[in-house]
């Protein structure tokens, strides 16, 4: 496995791999999201309590789950970059961070839009909501730190360390906020813990989840390619790509 992975420490190989993967991810994402959304929004039965407004789940749950798993992916990349000094991993950190931030923002926004008709409030200081908001702050910190550096190589490394420090904090934030709430207000509305939903609603959700995952994969691959080109401008292989593109025009 190590032999198989090792070429991807070279940015050129990673660039080619991402280029090869992008169309597959894009195609899968397009197909699955189309199926999932049409199935979920048009054909899945309405909820007996929430009526049609529960359908926001098909946007909300995938983005909320991805907001967290994307952070985990970013932290793993940061660890790889820090421990094995692989610079493509550092580039991946800065490529992933804005994607995760956008999904966290989408999860927060769709959650608020769902909360208004269900709970009668756009925002409640509930454990889930608060920890998700902190997650957004962590993402924004990583992005801000990366952009503050003129030298992108050290900026990427610094952002990686911050991402790792943040991941140590993530479970603490989660449990502490839960604890804080139970102490102050007793049990809160936890719609995430409701009984397993019916399979007619679950299937489109799962399809959407995989679809959004592929969507993230496609964007990250594309962003990583850009990042590699930007940081490796001076390399001959980047120059030859630029020449080829210029020649085609």
């Amino acid at each position: 496995m190590w032999k198989w992975l090792h070429p991807y420490a070279k940015s050129e190989k990673t660039y080619q791999l991402c280029g090869a993967l992008t169309p597959w991810f894009s195609l899968l994402a397009f197909g699955l999201i189309t199926i999932g959304m049409i199935w979920g929004l048009l054909y899945a039965p309405a909820d007996y309590q929430q009526g049609d407004s529960f359908r926001i789940i098909y946007m909300h749950v995938p983005s909320a789950m991805l907001s967290m798993s994307v952070y985990a992916a970013m932290a793993i990349m940061a660890l790889v970059g820090l421990v094995w000094q692989i610079k493509t991993a550092d580039m991946a950190v800065s490529a992933i961070a804005p994607v995760g931030a956008v999904f966290t923002a989408i999860a927060l926004f769709t959650g608020a839009a769902w909360g208004k008709p269900m709970w009668g409030a756009w925002w409640v200081w509930d454990a889930r909501l608060t920890s998700e908001l902190i997650l957004l702050f962590l993402y924004l910190g990583v992005i801000a730190l990366y952009n503050a550096f003129d030298d992108k190589a050290s900026g990427g490394k610094a952002a990686g360390i911050l991402a790792l420090v943040g991941v140590v904090n993530l479970p603490i934030i989660h449990y502490s906020v839960e604890w804080w709430n139970t102490l102050h207000q007793g049990a809160t509305i936890t719609r995430f813990d409701k009984p397993l939903i019916d399979s007619s609603m679950l299937w489109p959700l799962l399809i959407n989840l995989v679809g959004f995952g592929c969507f993230v994969g496609a964007i990250v691959c594309q962003r990583l390619r850009n990042e590699i080109l930007l940081r490796e401008q001076h390399r001959p292989w980047v120059k030859s790509i630029a020449m080829k593109v210029a020649g085609e025009k």
Partner: protein, 228 residues
């Protein structure tokens, strides 16, 4: 000439150097403390002097003020050493680099947080915290402020090479301070209501141990990135 000094003597020599440096800029210690007192004074003025209301939110006020005043001194922690090349010299010396980082953390805590802990009963009295909450407040500050110093210094190390890091620093540090704030204020609230709060203290102590284990190395790594 190659002299190997023990880790302990290197540590104390570095602490001594810090104190000599700070002695030349006394305002750096006093200003965060004044800031702490002023912020606390603002709340009764803004909310009205009603004792029950103040007692209810006092733990949060004192902790937020402590958090902000801890942050005030952070920006200058590595600035002078970075500008005059001390950090580079220490990086190539035979003494392990984390000893320097540990000395910085200890000194930062001694200078910014210890006076604040000593002052906190006065603040608690002014904000009408019930007497049984005083001990909890001081204990949470004692356990919590070292965590603030350690997390803050990691972020400071990350931004040391940037010309203007003040606002960025607060963006990086404040989200990481939230767990400490939550555990500490809920401990004080529990104590004020006469409930047991040793669970909260245990969690804080756990977070502190984790910070002690991780932060010197994270800081050292962050400084090395900025030196290149």
């Amino acid at each position: 000439m190659m002299t190997n000094i023990s880790y302990a003597s290197a540590f104390f020599a570095l602490i001594q150097k810090e104190f000599t440096q700070v002695y030349q800029h006394k305002a750096d210690i006093v200003n965060p403390l004044i800031f702490f007192v002023v912020v606390i004074t603002l709340f009764p003025l803004g909310l009205g002097p009603e004792p029950n209301l103040l007692a209810r939110i006092a733990a949060g006020i004192i902790w937020v003020a402590a958090l902000l005043s801890t942050m005030m001194g952070l920006e200058r922690v590595f600035k002078a050493d970075y500008d005059d090349g001390t950090i580079e010299q220490l990086l190539i010396s035979s003494t392990p680099f984390f000893i320097y980082v540990c000395a910085k953390m200890v000194v930062h805590w001694l200078l910014t947080s210890l006076p604040l802990i000593i002052l906190s009963p006065v603040a608690a009295y002014m904000l009408h915290i019930p007497t049984q909450g005083f001990e909890a407040l001081m204990l949470t500050l004692l356990l919590g402020t070292p965590i603030l110093s350690m997390i803050g210094i990691i972020a400071t190390a990350l931004t040391v090479s940037l010309p203007k890091s003040g606002v960025l620093l607060s963006l990086l540090v404040l989200p990481l301070y939230i767990p400490v704030l939550i555990f500490s204020t809920s401990a004080v609230d529990a104590a004020s209501m006469g409930m047991a709060y040793n669970g909260h203290l245990a969690m804080l102590a756990g977070v502190m141990m984790l910070s002690i284990a991780v932060s010197p190395f994270a800081t050292a790594a962050a400084l090395k990135i900025n030196i290149n």
